[in-house]
């Protein structure tokens, strides 16, 4: 057995197709970037072990497809997520506008116990493109939206240049961890002594 307890965190990455979800994950996990666009089909799964505040944990990253036709996979995919990463492309207005939909959809499908405090994080990706000249969503606007949704942490990233990727995932891990620490007590049932005579065996078919 491992000498210290490890925690597994399920992290879901959501956002419109082409905003760079897979690239962010690849940059984070494999330190690699490819300019070629390959649409994710359904979902990709990657794991990364992280040490943080002297604790070991594993990020189980669910990189989902942005295309609408995959939305039917929803419930089962989102179930039990510890953190949700919302990604948009700072050069595409629509991808920012859709953040709201992604967030709502996630909350409906995953139905976390405490939706108000569920740990989201927003990443504005592709800040490197065209030296920032093609940018259409300002940082201010993005931060305002995040603030309005319960102070969601916000990062401006470039999967290509590796800007802020590591930092963003640090916060993802930290927030997911914080959120998960509340319920850790397992209280097993014990047979009520007095009622044992009612414990009829169910397995006997004789």
């Amino acid at each position: 057995m491992p000498s210290r307890r490890r925690t597994l965190l399920k992290v879901i990455i959501l956002g419109d197709s082409g905003v760079g979800k897979t690239s962010l994950m690849n940059q984070y996990v494999n330190k690699k970037f490819s300019n070629q666009y390959k649409a994710t089909i359904g979902a990709d799964f990657l794991t990364k072990e992280v040490e943080f505040e002297d604790r070991l944990f594993t990020l189980q990253i669910w990189d989902t497809a942005g295309q609408e036709r995959f939305q039917s996979l929803g419930v089962a995919f989102y179930r039990g997520a510890d953190c949700c990463v919302l990604v948009y492309d700072v050069n595409v207005q629509k991808s920012f506008d859709n953040l709201n939909n992604w967030r709502e959809e996630f909350l409906i499908q995953a139905s976390p116990s405490d939706p108000e405090n569920f740990p989201f994080i927003v990443l504005g990706n592709k800040v490197d493109v065209d030296g920032g000249n093609s940018r259409v969503v300002s940082e201010k606007k993005a931060r305002a939206w995040c603030a309005a949704k319960g102070d969601i942490p916000y990062f401006e990233t470039s999967a290509k240049e590796g800007i802020n990727v590591e930092e963003a995932f640090q916060v993802i891990a930290k927030n997911a961890l914080k959120n998960g620490e509340e319920e850790e007590i397992y209280l097993p049932d014990t047979i009520d002594v007095g009622s044992t005579s009612q414990q009829r065996a169910s397995g006997c078919d004789c």
Partner: protein, 624 residues
């Protein structure tokens, strides 16, 4: 009486066999009427058996009969070489779950292929370097395969490795190091992909809970893939049970928020693998109860891995039993052969303590029951006994001191804990006292001291040890001549019968081994292994053959059958099912059919003659 006496060698034509499989009754063949008459005559003189008035059904090598709803909707005639692909919209899921390595020739008389493959590791896949460097791995195991103490499997190349790269070590000698094997592996490892049989437990959110091989956290991505497959099918309002991908079968079992998956290329029947998943789930319930379900209801992201901390060995040991212990598919338990008075003495003292508020008192020697007593009209299911015994034997800490541990008997009450007081009376013999009171430790300790005192005074413990070393039913002592019958095993044991001439292999008429399962008693008895079935790999092969036989006899789609006679290049297998018992017998592949049938009757007679000593009578858990 109609019968079919063909005992053809295994055909390579799948469809032909399917056909043979479905034609269980072929009319008009008189060739073995004599022997069948002999059976009837013989049987009519045995009170507890019902005569075979049906046919001897000859089912050739192919047992496989799919009554399973499969993703690929395979029809009956479809050979199971067909690659069943589940197409989930995921670029890597299929590849992940069907990591076929090398292409081995797929034969239909699958039993031997499998074992060959197991013994030789990756004979026909030249790139089997994955096995290199895995010898001497940390897997120890409780050897509980029905009384055999054969220790070590030696591979052709001298390595001492089982099919899963695991050393098979006798429990006495084994230092149980850690249950987790090859923790450094993950789904990218070649060695991991080459493993013949994987077991996974995961949560409905895709978080890994247990993996037989490799580190659960490193396999988080793989675990997520499995969850995605299950959920994808679930979303369509369906439930995935089996996926075939090349020679691999992926078997799924959904238990509320817990998902269990087996990926196997051992060619075991689907029903068997599914049964193994059920037991694996039962083992988890035994440790935690089904209250874990509520944790998931409250909190879907609940991570239950910490709750199972330190129990890897329990699961690994259970998985090992799947190929070592027929109880895993017979759903029956077995008793240590003992003189009737000895078992009575043990039962009396157990009854004595049971009267003081103990729910169950169980005295066991390895995987065999010495005696067993219950307080109420409550039953102890054989599967619960198997899981309990496995839990006790695979947890090293029980050996070193008296223990008091909450456990759940899944077939008794899956929702709540009982408390088990466990104490080893000697290296192999242990007493389990189950109670509903968490405060009962000191009372049970007193009970144990009383039991221990009585058992050693009355010499029961010595008798147990003696039986353990001498074994019970030796096939070469099968009384062939009716006049040589004896009501007891134990004076036979003193001197071997003259029939057992040195040089003859196995028992009379080529009998190699048998298992007799009493239906009313929920107990089975198996003969001791003898040459040529002496190595663990040969025993495993035989158990797998029995397992197939069991699955085919109990196939709901085409069964139930009464008899089955099957010949392949390893064995002649004969199975006979009546209302009272099931008999599974293995003979030399050249054995004569008529003679084999006669011997089976002798075996049943023998079992009946000595039933006082090989079964726990009267005090059966189901007989209150």
């Amino acid at each position: 009486m109609a019968s079919n006496s063909t005992s053809q060698p295994p055909s390579s034509d799948e469809e032909e066999e399917q056909e043979a499989n479905s034609t269980v009754q072929k009319p008009n063949s008189n060739s073995i009427d004599n022997s069948l008459d002999a059976i009837e005559n013989q049987l009519s003189s045995i009170s507890f058996t019902s005569p075979i008035d049906e046919t001897i059904a000859v089912v050739s090598a192919e047992y496989y009969h799919e009554s399973v709803s499969e993703i690929n909707d395979s029809s009956l005639n479809e050979s199971y070489e067909t690659v069943g692909e589940i197409r989930i919209d995921n670029n890597n899921s299929v590849g992940e779950s069907s990591h076929a390595s090398g292409s081995r020739v797929w034969m239909n008389n699958n039993v031997e292929v499998e074992v060959e493959a197991e013994v030789d590791g990756g004979l026909s896949s030249p790139s089997s370097s994955g096995y290199a460097g895995e010898r001497g791995s940390s897997g120890g195991s409780v050897s509980s395969g029905s009384g055999t103490d054969v220790i070590r499997e030696v591979r052709d190349n001298g390595e001492s490795v089982g099919d899963d790269g695991v050393n098979t070590v006798d429990s006495v000698q084994a230092e149980w190091i850690s249950g987790k094997r090859h923790a450094d592996e993950d789904d990218a490892s070649i060695s991991w992909r080459k493993r013949k049989k994987h077991f996974f437990i995961l949560s409905h959110s895709g978080k890994p809970i247990y993996s037989r091989y490799g580190d659960e956290h490193k396999l988080a991505g793989f675990s997520a893939t499995l969850q995605a497959i299950i959920s994808f099918v679930e979303n369509g309002g369906d439930c995935v049970k089996l996926v075939r991908a090349g020679k691999h079968q992926v078997v799924f079992l959904v238990k509320g928020p817990i998902y269990l998956v087996c990926i196997s290329c051992t060619e075991e029947p689907y029903e068997s693998l599914r049964g193994q998943l059920e037991l694996l789930y039962g083992q988890m319930i035994l440790i935690l109860t089904r209250s874990v379900d509520r944790c998931f209801e409250k909190n879907p992201k609940f991570d239950m891995t910490p709750l199972l901390g330190g129990t890897d060995a329990v699961f690994s040991s259970l998985i090992h039993l799947f190929s070592q212990n027929p109880a895993t598919f017979l759903h029956a338990y077995t008793c240590l052969p003992l003189a009737y008075a000895t078992r009575q003495a043990a039962g009396a003292i157990l009854q004595d303590v049971a009267d003081t508020g103990v729910v169950f008192a169980i005295l066991m020697c390895k995987d065999k029951v010495v005696s067993l007593v219950g307080l109420q009209k409550s039953s102890l299911h054989p599967d619960d006994m198997l899981l309990l015994a496995n839990f006790v034997m695979s947890s090293e800490s029980f050996r070193t001191s008296e223990s008091f541990s909450p456990i759940c008997l899944p077939r008794y009450n899956p929702m709540a804990f009982l408390y088990a007081y466990v104490h080893y009376l000697d290296a192999d013999t242990y007493l389990i006292l189950l109670t509903a009171s968490s405060q009962a430790f000191f009372h049970l300790k007193e009970c144990r001291i009383r039991v221990e005192t009585v058992l050693s005074k009355s010499n029961v413990l010595n008798e147990v040890q003696r039986s353990m070393s001498e074994g019970g039913l030796h096939i070469d002592r099968l009384p062939v001549d009716l006049s040589a019958r004896s009501g007891s095993l134990f004076h036979q044991n003193q001197r071997r019968q003259p029939e057992s001439v040195v040089g003859i292999i196995g028992g009379p008429a080529g009998l190699l081994h048998f298992i007799y399962r009493s239906i009313y008693l929920d107990q089975y008895v198996s003969s001791e292994f003898a040459s040529p079935i002496s190595s663990p790999s040969q025993q495993k092969r035989l158990y797998r053959a029995y397992q197939r036989l069991y699955a085919s006899m109990h196939d709901k789609g085409i069964g139930p059958h009464k008899t089955q006679f099957r010949r392949d290049e390893n064995y002649v297998l004969l199975c006979w099912v009546t209302q009272d018992f099931e008999l599974y017998a293995a003979f030399d592949p050249l054995a004569d059919k008529g003679a084999a049938i006669r011997i089976c009757n002798r075996v049943c007679q023998w079992v009946k003659d000595v039933e006082n000593e090989i079964f726990l009578l009267g005090a059966s858990p189901f007989s209150w």
